[in-house]
Amino acid sequence: MLETLKNKQTIIASVLWLAFAIAFLGVYEQDIIYNLHLGSFFCNAEYYHDKVIIEDGHLTYLARYLSQFFIYPLPSTIALSVVLCGISIWLSRIIEYKPGNVMMAFLPAFLCALLIGIVGKHMHNAIRDVLTLPCMGLFLIVGNMWVAKKMQDRKDIMFLYIDVALVTFIGFIIGGVVGFFAGLGMACTAATRNLKQGAVCLAVAVACTLYMTWWYSDTRYWLTPLTNFDYKAVAVTELFVFLSPSILILDKKMKSSDKLPNARNVNDKIYGFKFFNIALAVIAACATYFSSERHSAFRGECKLTRLMVNNDFKGMVKAAKEIEEPNWACYGLRLIGLDQTGKLEEDMFKYTCRKSDFPITYEFHYPWLNLYAGQPLYSLSYAMDYHLFKEENYLNMMAMAYDYILVGEKEAAEKILSKMDDNIVYRKWCEKIRKHYGSHIEFAQTHKQFGKAMMGAFRENIVIGQIPFEATFKLSNKMNGVNISRRVYLTLFEKDMEGFKILMNAVGDKYNGALPEPIQEAICILAINGDNDLLEKLPVSPIIGTRANNILGDMRKGMDYDQIAMKYGDSYFTYFFFAVKPERNNNQ
């Protein structure tokens, strides 16, 4: 074992393991794992099938259970990492002792990747904290070394048993994948000695593939990256996963003359261990590369979220400035900071908004944005949507609880809080919130961050209707002046020009003739599109009108965002024409 520790390649591979851990957590945040094990036909018990296997697999329950202890991220990460390392090293030790199965060194790597992916997804949802991920990677390395040392004498455990155990643990479709790789690996190895054995093993792989495809449309899971380019990270990872056995075969052939089949010696252990880590490194490299794009924006998003929950709105504005590549959520969360510090009108659109800077899978910030804008029901509906697609997320549930309290529905708030009670991180917060069940007006007063928006909101009601009405907005009551800018700016943020027009028709005169620049720019955009209605009613500075024409002219000449932003600065014009809002399907 000492030799193993001294082996430079092993140490390098272990460092790569860290990258691998972080990368996989990022990649699998795309929920590919969830979709991989959606189907099963072996399990007849409907309840078991529907609620355990289909939903998420046993590991999800373990992950949910563990993630609730993330009030202390570091110790819990240690615990989780050690467990996962234990499994990975256990497997690698078992495999490497079987001389004919060096190929199988790949298998535990793949399995562990899946394990970490699922657990990581839930960790991520529970804490949304990037700090935990490198911590986990670090302890994976330490645990890797420690468990390898402790387990070096373990032998004679049936691979099949492990396969079955893990398959049950992580879902049945994965069983097909495991079997496929096992069969393929054995076939490649055995074929070098015995053609018949190789053929049998290949048949195992084919059978497993058939198993995967048996369940309707399962093959499409694997084709997903080809049909949906958002999954390119998974596509490349899969590609390397398929290629890595070939790399191992090549390596094995080169060294087999002096290392194999005389196994059960230290060199062989090092040899197997190295293969194991090479496989991981290959996966890590491509996964890290392809997930890094998302993470640069994601880190900013996490930071802004933390600051928002801590009511550090000045900090939010400052942090937003420091984000080099903000995504849509960063943009949205920044609005809350600007609003709370009174800089919404002034600074909202003075922010970089290149198209490539806006990749995001779902609008986490929408519930909060609407909550702070005094629209608790819209906030609630966004939160419910988010809950559907991202499952239990405590920050999202926090927004839901606020919403229910602010509309005076304490029973519904209690439903949310009783779920949050399970997590000791939020237990104290729940107790604190329960004290305000009595009066939602008092709640808004005591929670100053909502006070400004909510005090006006109780008297207002905006109805958004499905078309066919000419007016999709209906102002039931007279608009509260405090909230005008929030509502107007939300329509601008959404690029909802129709909503903006209706709103401005109703409240335009409240600005007393001094319209903020972004609003004037939005009026010009309406005019550019042939709608002069607002332009005729409301005052727009000739300077802004001229600038609108100039920008339009420059865009027609082919100037891109960088050139326009350099010439004119960031403005609602640049936002409107260059920021791409994530698309959603509204076919309810």
Partner: protein, 526 residues
Amino acid sequence: MRNLLYSIFACTVAALLSACTAVVPKESTSIDSLPQIYPDYTNVTIPVNIAPLNFKIESNGDKFVVKATYGDKERVFGADSEGIVKISSKTWKEMTNLANGESIRYDIYAKQGEKWVKYNTFRQTVVSDSIDNFLTYRLIEPLYKNVGHMGIYQYNTETSQEKAIFDYRKNQISRDYDHTYCMNCHTSQRSNPANRMFYVRGKKGGMMLTYNGETKLVNTKCGDMKYSTAYASWHPTLPLIACTSENVRQSFPSNDNKKIYQFDRYGDIMLYDVEKNEVTALYKTPNRTEGLLTWSPDGEYLYYCYTDSAITEPSTATKQRYNIARVKFNAKDKSIGESELLVNATSVDSSAASPKVNIDGKHMMFRMGKYGMYMQTNKTADIYMMNLDTRKYYALDSLNSTQADHFHDFSSTGRWIVFESKKEDGNYAKVYFSYFDKDGVAHKPFAIPHENPLWDKELMKSYNCTEFCTAANDKAPKDYHKIIEDEPLKQASYGSPIDTSSINGTSGASQVNGVAGASVVSPKKK
């Protein structure tokens, strides 16, 4: 390691033994109140074939012991550390069979400090009137912006197991929104429950119809129909489905306890002949909106609700009010007769909708509130019963609450009512059963049982469109998904004249004579 395994094994055995050896305390002090249990299963009437009514004791106590007495037997159950009492299916069957026609009596003992206290006895009266084996419903968010995760499920009332009938999420490739479907209204034929249908909306939407073992997706929008078919009711014996052709819209207020305004801007009644794959206009009116409908158990009458109020903008949805009427149906020529107003709700500034007729033909259940037809978010919605002999109706007070009570149905025997209520938290509808006795009295309702009694409390979904069914749906979601993905949408033919100038109250295959309020209709201009 071996020692550790032995320790785990020993602890497990000890835990199991302790659970089996709950004993009634020898000394206890009586408390003059009922124990607080969730769901509230105290003093309810239950069918002999219902699944075990597990519950959680919410009264104060460190430990709980439950003594159940039934027939000449008694059993003692322990509650777990959370106060949850679970009864095995085998034990429960024995309990309900022995108590059939009588009741199961529960005594709950709670250990408070060093002393044991005993709460008042409560009963569960067991009646031999069985409840239908299955219940179908949709699970949906109480508020939404998008389709989200939606599914139609069937619940086995004898085992409390839930199974998906159609749930797109179980088949989707990724969380790609293109693969989401809105779906609604699972309904089956009373005489042959294997014949069933529900709707799938979206790009390739239509009526998912199963008839005589064959399942197909049918596009029922044809001819001069403005909108596709929506709410449907199978004729009890014939291969006919009465359905509305509706334009359902929704609006969402930003800050209002109504949450969603859901309303119809258009509604006519169509008849779909399953065997001919043909749609005919049964009741087509330009200025009146017909809505939720149902057949009488003998198939001779079609009950429906209608409104004459037009929606001009979303908030006027609170002024849209419905009445309930019925028309006689002539199966030979598929025509309808004179309309008969049953519930004139608009005369009392209310709205009545969703008629359901009991198998006895004497009782009609419906919901009534201040406005609208859907009423999911309408707190004034309550369930009412009309005696069709006397034409008098009354509120079913034992069922109603201050929140929305709606989506009701009779079991095939007419002795059980299922309905949805938001009484617990005002947002998430839950399903309740109530015994409807021969005197027309609805007994105290009880929540549908689950193995985990807190299942519905923790569920972040709202039940929707609940309906009884006597046979299981044997198809898996993937079967339906495959039909949607791989099979062509079958186009229904139109059996009515398409010449729109002739469309009036007597159009289509029907002959309507003197329909109240709709008999004189101007010919529609081209």
